[in-house]
């Protein structure tokens, strides 16, 4: 894995990697395109023009073009592939853009009838705009690096004679790619002259093999999806960091509420106790549990209701109106008889027989009796007689 640099922590992004090739290697022409041509068809128009203009088949050319929407012409440039060594071609790997040096300047905001003269080690290049955003002509005059000033001046005059200009801009340094404010454009600066190339125009300028470029763009597309996923991770992390801060604030708020809850608890507890006491006192004064009256009702004042075979082993009250009786009998048939007899009593609301089972020749069962409210009356105390 290549060494990871932390240079990205600097405030501005690095300038894009651009390979600028000598202008003298290219032939350049402005070709007409229909004004209403769609962007996707311009490339086809350019290839048709090149097939007519160039002495070599397209497959043996590196070529690119500059066109802006609405323009009636495209500036086309091409070079024979064999003019580049394999080492030169290998050096383009990783470059975002491979173009002739003059192509870096075609995005400049030049006024009509302006000529930009770009001096380089190989010679002098003239870009001429007549009107519109696409240069009308690009001329190159080769000069040796040791050429005297007089020869350079002659070459300049010769170029300008062929390109009638109202404004002439001399550039002595090669254009340099800068980091742009947005990803939608590439910016080149050459002294005071600034050229802004929209991404789509820059892609069309790239002279590399078009199939190779397609693969590069697909790779770049995959990388962009990975970047978007990474950006999503950053956004999620940012949202969670914000959430952590909110949780911290929420924790302080919760602490305050808990303190209030604990401070109020004794007072509230007292109120709840008072309420339950009031309820209990009311029950004591208004409700009476009458267990023996219940029992008397179920057996009869003279034992006339309960069958003689039924023997109670345990009875207990359940609330104010419930009585549960555990009983046994040697005659299982008496259970139903007794249940029916109890159900017929006016004071009894319901009778349920539960869990009857045989044990040692007797049937054990549970009677759950619920009395009707307000029916039972306290029995009279036994008379002295």
């Amino acid at each position: 894995m290549s060494a990871l640099s932390l240079g990205f922590l600097s405030s501005s992004p690095p300038a894009p990697k651009v390979a600028l090739l000598p202008d003298g290697l290219f032939f350049v022409r402005a070709v007409d395109v229909p004004a209403d041509v769609a962007r996707g068809e311009v490339g086809l128009q350019v290839e048709l023009a090149l097939e007519t203009l160039a002495p070599f088949p397209l497959a043996q050319l590196y070529y690119g073009y500059f066109w802006t929407p609405g323009s009636a012409r495209a500036l086309v440039f091409a070079a024979y592939r064999r003019r580049f060594t394999s080492d030169q071609v290998a050096a383009w790997e990783g470059a975002e853009l491979v173009i002739p040096a003059f192509a870096a300047l075609v995005g400049g905001a030049a006024a009509p009838a302006t000529t930009v003269l770009l001096a380089s080690a190989e010679g002098l290049t003239a870009l001429h705009w007549d009107s519109g955003r696409v240069p009308a002509q690009v001329l190159f005059s080769p000069l040796s690096p040791e050429a005297p000033e007089e020869e350079r001046a002659r070459a300049r005059d010769e170029l300008l004679r062929r390109l009638p200009s109202r404004e002439i801009i001399d550039l002595v340094a090669p254009p340099v790619a800068e980091s742009a404010a947005t990803d939608r454009e590439l910016v080149f600066r050459c002294g005071e002259f600034v050229s802004r190339l929209p991404r789509e125009a820059a892609s069309a300028l790239d002279m590399r093999d078009k199939e190779e470029l397609l693969l590069l763009r697909r790779g770049r597309g995959r990388a962009l999806w990975l970047w978007r996923a990474l950006l999503g991770c950053f956004i999620a992390a940012g949202a969670m960091a914000l959430g952590e801060v909110l949780l911290l604030a929420g924790g302080l708020w919760q602490t305050t509420r808990l303190a209030q809850l604990h401070a109020q608890a004794p007072g509230v507890e007292q109120i709840i106790t008072a309420q339950s006491l009031a309820h209990r006192i009311n029950e004591l004064s208004t409700k009476r549990l009458l267990p023996l009256e219940m029992l008397t009702t179920l057996v009869g004042s003279h034992n006339e209701i309960k069958p003689p075979s039924v023997v109670f082993t345990r009875m207990y009250t359940s609330g104010e109106l419930g009585l549960t009786i555990e009983a046994q009998t040697s005659n299982p048939g008496d259970i139903n008889v007794y249940q029916n007899a109890l159900s017929a009593l006016p004071a009894v609301g319901s009778v349920v027989v539960k869990n009857p089972r045989q044990q040692n020749n007797v049937t054990i069962f549970t009677l759950i009796v619920t009395f009707k409210p307000g029916v039972l009356q306290p029995m009279a105390p036994p008379s002295a007689s």
């Binding site: 290549s2 405030s11 770049r220 996923a229 919760q254 509420r257 004591l284 009476r288 082993t313």
Partner: protein, 180 residues
């Protein structure tokens, strides 16, 4: 800085980009798991505290009414006739003795008290007593209503036995004198 990092990221080879993304996904995934736990806990605690506070607010708002109701309920009793736990136990034992019972035992249940009023609860057990004694005790107990109340009444009798075992839960209201 984002654009710088973007340029840095896009400048890496594909393998490094995938590794960076995988690492970021792991970190974010782990963080999200922890964070969602925290949010869930905070949400539950917050809701619980909110409902507790709302309930407290209801009780605090109803305090005058509840206290007035408690005073009104206590007003049904003659304070001089109300019994504390010792009084309840003594009166019950006396009634059991008068009814001819023996070996009875009384155990206290926790009191409920506001300071002004208290409700005392007594678990009273009478083993092996005859039916007539139980009847007499019951009638004596009933006469002390409402100052002594029967909360629960259990009678058990083994088959072929002439005696019964009795367990009662009795309660009494005590109004602290001078509190009315």
């Amino acid at each position: 800085m984002i654009r710088s990092f973007r340029a840095f990221f896009l400048g890496r080879v594909q393998r490094e980009r995938i590794l960076l993304l995988a690492f970021a996904l792991m970190v974010v995934g782990y963080w999200f798991s922890h964070f969602s736990d925290q949010v869930g806990r905070f949400w539950r605690e917050s809701r619980h505290t909110g409902s507790e506070l709302a309930l407290q607010a209801q009780y605090l708002a109803a305090r005058p009414t509840i206290m007035a109701d408690a005073q009104k309920a206590a007003g049904q009793f003659d304070p001089s006739s109300t019994l504390n736990f010792a009084g309840l136990l003594a009166a019950t034992e006396q009634m059991a003795t008068d009814a001819g019972m023996a070996n009875e035992r009384g155990d206290p249940d926790p009191d409920v008290s506001t300071g002004q009023f208290s409700v005392h609860t007594l678990r009273f057990t009478i083993p092996r007593t005859d039916w007539n004694s139980l009847l007499n005790f019951y009638i004596a107990l009933r006469k002390r209503h409402p100052y002594i109340g029967i909360d629960r009444f259990t009678v058990s009798s083994p088959p072929a036995s002439t005696t019964v075992n009795v367990e009662l839960v009795l309660s009494s209201v005590e109004i602290v004198r001078g509190s009315e």
